[in-house]
Symmetry: none
Subunit: 221 residues, 4 copies
């Protein structure tokens, strides 16, 4: 790559990473750059139509780059899923910490996070489903998803336990509620995936609120 084309290349990437990625970007940066490109490709074309070449092109790099940094496509995809899961977890954790102070507020905030454009959007939702679609035949994917799921469930169940204790609710168990809430949010992603046009975020949000109110009338009124 000569000096001129390097500059072109550099500019081309400005949009993607918001800061100058050097030719000798550190290993970690390059990996992330490729993961981000992978996400874009999967979101745009689906898992089945995402080739290593597409990813490289999306990243503005050369053919061989993926195998250089990830050894195999399989690896890239696994790392991509891990990245997506981590990102989700980070936002989840942050919401959990910042919302409050009570368990009820935290719970509601977490539910709403799942409906927030930062999480449920035309980029991320398809990626989740793309990976879920392969879960059955890829044990590694399953494991990563499972971990995320358990984490989510555990925290939801803790919050519910607190809320139930606070409200002395009977007739509902914390685990039941956690299961239902977890399922519901994932299910709403599906509705959004299937009919992104007609999907009404507010309606979904109020459906979630209604549900919480039904479970815990004293907390959500």
């Amino acid at each position: 790559m000569n000096e001129y084309s390097f500059i072109v290349w550099q500019n081309r990437n400005m949009g993607a990473t918001a800061k100058s990625v050097r030719r000798t970007a550190s290993r970690k940066q390059r990996r992330q750059q490729l993961i981000v490109a992978t996400i874009k490709c999967i979101a745009r074309n689906g898992m089945g139509s995402t080739s290593i070449g597409d990813v490289a092109k999306e990243a503005g790099l050369s053919q061989g780059i993926v195998n250089l940094h990830f050894e195999s496509k399989d690896n890239l995809l696994t790392e991509t899923l891990r990245y997506v899961a981590d990102e989700y977890k980070t936002q989840f954790r942050k919401t959990l910490d910042e919302a409050g102070p009570g368990a009820a507020e935290k719970l509601q905030a977490l539910i709403e996070l799942d409906l927030h454009p930062a999480i449920m959007n035309r980029q991320k939702t398809p990626v989740w489903f793309a990976f879920w679609g392969e879960v059955k035949s890829r044990p590694t994917y399953r494991k990563i998803c499972d971990t995320r799921d358990r984490y989510y469930d555990e925290i939801l169940e803790d919050l519910c336990t607190t809320i139930i204790a606070e409200g002395k609710y009977r007739n509902v168990s914390a685990s039941s509620v956690a299961i239902a809430l977890n399922a519901m949010t994932n299910g709403l992603w599906l509705s959004y995936l299937i009919s992104p046009r007609s999907f009404d975020r507010d309606q979904a949000s109020s459906a979630a609120s209604d549900l919480l109110r039904s479970y815990f009338p004293k907390h959500y009124s």
Copy 2:
């Protein structure tokens, strides 16, 4: 085909058709046979690893057979999704008709149908997710799924409307409940997909019951 391979072939087909079908299978039967084989392959290996050759082998037929009956792989997959969706709808309709007599019983029966081994099993669930994984990039898939979804939603909402009227429930709208229930059942499929071992069908069932009871305490007690 020599004698040995004929017998192999015959046996291989026993499962699918329960009797030796040779060149006489009607066009419709052959198509169904191939669709069933496709479902098995997708469930076993995932969408991305299902080749036309695999499907043909699974059906005990030759390479060219798929293109002979479906013209293209795309077509086969679309027809497979349609088949799966129709099958679901049939069971759904049957449950709706046979359960009863009241709306509450019907609603509960429909929710439980989604958790029933006939619907939620290691074969069908992965197939649904395999197709959902491609929804973003395949408008046809989206449409078929959308239709199924709307149908489901509509009936659930009707039932909820009746129940709400019967019980004079306030604080919940029929559409809210329908959305939440639809989302929840789909979400439970995901939990089942991700952790088929630890997934507890009874727990899921009771979570669903708890939810219904929370919404409509007078009906589910």
Copy 3:
């Protein structure tokens, strides 16, 4: 084939054969029917895009019919070429016999035959070139074409010999003229093939006349 579809089929073929082809058309009739269909297909789609299935469809018959009557595609094509060559020869012979009375008139008539719409048209010309295109790799084609060519040449040379004797022309040999005339007519077919729109039949015809006049001024004035 039931009675209704038979009638449909029968009608469909009326145009092609101008008389009722029975279901039990004699072997010879069927063969011709298929050959005619082959010619149409080659003229329309080219040799490379003409499949046995296309031919059968064009003839309004079933897949297997070609192999039934011709054993192989190769055979069908060879027979088609033979048919085309025979047809040409028949018209050539007829022209030779009917034109006259002198050699000069006969020669001119033969040249003009090659430019006549009955011979040089959008159906036949491409077929000739389609076969010539394969001549190098198909000895059988070569032989058939060669035979036709020699026949043509021989007769042309005879006529020229007569004309030269009549006119006591010097400076030209019969074989030279025959070679040139034969080449020219075939070459005009190429011009017609390549630019059927801008090709001017009259201009070609007068070019041929000019040529004859240059060779034999006393005969063509």
Copy 4:
């Protein structure tokens, strides 16, 4: 690639490139190498029996190479025709420039070029006919051939115009002669194609001379 197969590979390529070209061949060189291989294959096996695999093997390269450099077989063929046409045009132009000084000499030189072994040989002639055989069904081929034809015609007509003016010939028009000469040379190629053994280059040459002499007796005596 082990040592033995490397040597094999090296030898195989000697003919084509006269020195070991490995992965370094420039894009343009590779394309030409493949085009040359294509020409050989078509000349040897005919258009219909020339597969991408054959071409790659002929070039001593791998299957995927053609699509890497030409994107599709269609493209390769079109470029091959273009190459052949360009090559012809170059030789034509060179002959036109170098022959002379008069128009008559130039004309004769051009006619003789078409009969020269450098142009009319067992490699090139079949290739021309292979492409002409597909002209009807491939508009792109038609266009390329048409362009070549018009170029040829135009120059021939110009030369004839000059000659006619010089010799004050009557009874012939420049366009008539150009058409006839063009047709004749192409037609001679056909004779050569059909009977390469018995085709007599000298006889063809003298037939051409006779023709010129008949048209323009004052110039060719």
